[in-house]
């Protein structure tokens, strides 16, 4: 039986490669709208399989579709869903087909396409997105194979190349910044607002450098006791303290480093809040890290004396500066992954033809 299935791979996405932080904030999907978005995807003509990868730095829709599928319908759906001008979306997004999709996914899972090249958090995020798509029965044979191979490619890249060496981890970069501001990281008092992976990675890095005064707060604290990464659990895990979300603004002056990493979608900390805190600690610096997209801290606060505000783009830039010395390693990895991607695509097309 040599029946050709008219199915191909596609990808529509936006990431730091084509969109700045403000554009990514507009395209990124709020966590509470994911269900609705998946429901809508299922109604697009010709779309057999689909998977949404929605992180703070990228929003990508992977899929397997029949010939009747068109990118325009998907683009139109996304722009309508996020209330975006279609031209704006096309300017800040990219499309990939077949072999290009494989190549792109390999780069994503191995961290080569990340803002902080070689970072490892993305692999966990892709795995989570894949599990989510499987639970929703949105991922089928083609995407299953693609993503399984993507995870293998990531493992290969990290084992066989030097792309993950050095300080590209967000937490380590933040510790280095804290050292440049305060000296000993162990003396820094850290407040984490939110309890995601970024928060955990940061706490881990501070803890490993001897920091004892770690406090966690978050919006999900009271009403979501079963949340996997809720602040109380995180505080307990690292021997830190919990702080009620309602009280954290009044206590900000007690902390040297404040990290916000929530999906609140709005500014939690504004200029007035920081100005008020700094009045209580005028000559002591305050290091603010906004790891959220959309941002949780008003950009204007960086104008206040002794306040050093960094967002994800800034931290990534620093991490990538660290990586300059091993660009050749990244190039080697890219070449090897491209060959693996091509091989996989050839296998997939052969299997299709045989089946």
């Amino acid at each position: 039986m040599n029946q050709e299935i008219n199915q191909s791979l596609f990808l529509l996405g936006s990431s730091h490669q084509v969109a700045d932080l403000a554009a990514r904030e507009r395209i990124s999907l709020p966590p509470d709208s994911i269900d609705e978005f998946y429901n809508g995807l299922g109604k697009i003509e010709g779309l057999d399989e689909y998977l949404l990868l929605n992180t703070c730095n990228r929003t990508e829709i992977y899929g397997a579709a029949q010939k009747s599928f068109s990118f325009d319908s998907l683009g139109k759906y996304l722009s309508n869903f996020r209330k975006l001008d279609p031209d704006f979306l096309s300017q800040h997004s990219y499309q990939r087909n077949d072999h290009e999709v494989v190549d792109h996914l390999f780069k994503v899972t191995s961290g080569i396409d990340s803002q902080m090249v070689g970072e490892t958090e993305i692999l966990g995020q892709v795995k989570k997105a894949y599990e989510d798509a499987c639970k929703r029965k949105a991922a089928g044979k083609m995407l299953n194979r693609l993503f399984q191979k993507g995870f293998q490619a990531a493992k290969w890249a990290r084992t066989n190349t030097g792309i993950s060496r050095g300080q590209v981890n967000l937490g380590n970069v933040l510790c280095e910044l804290a050292r440049r501001i305060f000296g000993k990281v162990s003396n820094c008092r850290l407040l984490v607002v939110g309890a995601g992976e970024v928060a955990e990675s940061t706490i881990e890095a501070f803890k490993s450098r001897g920091s004892q005064a770690i406090t966690v707060t978050g919006r999900t604290f009271e009403w979501c006791p079963l949340c996997r990464n809720k602040p109380a659990e995180l505080a307990e895990k690292f021997g830190g303290f919990e702080l009620s979300f309602e009280q954290f603004k009044e206590s900000m002056h007690l902390f040297d480093v404040i990290l916000t990493s929530t999906a609140s979608g709005k500014a939690l900390v504004n200029y007035g809040d920081i100005k008020k805190s700094m009045k209580k600690r005028p000559s002591q610096p305050l290091f603010l890290i906004d790891a959220s997209v959309p941002r949780n801290i008003e950009e204007k606060v960086s104008q206040i004396e002794n306040v050093f505000l960094y967002n994800m783009d800034d931290v990534s830039t620093i991490a990538n500066e660290n990586l300059k010395s091993r660009i050749s390693e990244v190039d080697r990895c890219k070449g090897a992954l491209a060959r693996r991607a091509l091989k996989l695509w050839e296998q997939m097309t052969q299997t299709r033809e045989i089946s």
């Binding site: 501001i181 960086s302 830039t317």
Partner: protein, 291 residues
């Protein structure tokens, strides 16, 4: 090269500071060559020893603390700067601060040696009397000049603070910024240096004031005004920082401006010159050339 000549020794000391400055920056930018590791500090220490001998020899020539002309005053300030750095170096390992201090000592030291008219040989004048007729005035002058050395170090640390701040605000890990001490430590160091400088300047003014009350004719009104204004300037900044009203970049910028004013006013804080005072007072008392 005569090792018993003060100027020759100042040239060598300046050269050593210059080498320390150059090697310090080569080391900072990771030119990995192991002999470089301690070379900058060694250069500063040897330069300082030769510098000390140069000032000592000049002191023997003039029979007092060598503060009689622009070259001597600048050299004494630079010597105080390096001395303060070496004391601080015992407490903190601040190699880059040493490079900045060595750079300033090299530049300013050689400039005063190159420029004409900065080193008139006033002690060779036939009617030369001892530079400081009164030991209290000599103490006043040397402490004041030492406080200038501390203030010059304060200006350097403030400059380092501003470089580090700029690097942090630009959100880039530039090479120089990553080798500077943490910004919080730099502000603390600035505060301590300001405190030490203000204390020394206050003692100097108190000592000088006691002399002034007895012999006001030796102190010109310009010198009096400039000295008081400078002391007031540093004291006001001291109290404003103490009460957290000036801090961070403003504090750093003001200390740099005050230092530039202090250096700029050096020529004005000379006591009435010898010819003037000779006409006014008895010759034996006419030799105060302090700050």
């Amino acid at each position: 090269m005569n090792f018993n000549d003060a100027r020759d020794l100042m040239w060598i000391a300046g050269g050593l500071y210059g080498s320390a400055f150059l090697l310090g920056f080569l080391k900072t930018f990771r030119l990995s060559w192991s002999p470089l590791n301690e070379a900058p500090l060694a250069g500063i220490i040897i330069g300082f020893l030769l510098h000390t001998r140069a000032l000592y020899l000049r002191g023997l020539e003039i029979h007092g603390c060598p503060l009689g002309n622009t070259l001597e005053r600048i050299q004494f300030i630079l010597w105080s700067l390096i001395l303060t750095f070496l004391i601080l170096r015992l407490l903190w390992r601040l190699d880059l601060l040493g490079s900045f201090c060595a750079g300033l000592s090299f530049g300013a030291g050689w400039l005063t040696l190159i420029l004409p008219n900065t080193d008139p040989m006033y002690w060779l004048a036939p009617d030369y009397q001892k530079l400081f007729s009164n030991p209290w005035v000599e103490l006043h002058a040397s402490i004041a000049i030492f406080s200038y050395g501390v203030f010059s170090l304060l200006a350097i640390v403030s400059g380092m603070y501003l470089i580090q701040r700029k690097a942090l605000l630009s959100r880039k890990f530039d090479k120089l910024g990553s080798f500077l001490p943490p910004i919080n430590d730099l502000e603390v160091a600035c505060w301590r240096l300001l405190s030490v400088g203000v204390i020394f300047l206050t003692i100097s003014i108190l000592v000088g004031g006691m002399h002034w009350t007895r012999h006001p004719e030796f102190v010109s009104s310009i010198k009096l005004a400039v000295t008081i204004l400078l002391w007031l300037g540093y004291s006001v900044v001291f109290f404003l920082h103490l009460t957290s009203r000036i801090y961070g970049s403003k504090f750093a910028k003001i200390t740099i401006i005050l230092f530039l004013l202090a250096i700029g006013s050096l020529a004005l804080v000379n006591s009435k010159n010898r010819e003037d005072t000779k006409q006014e007072i008895i010759p034996e008392k006419s030799s105060d050339l302090s700050l």
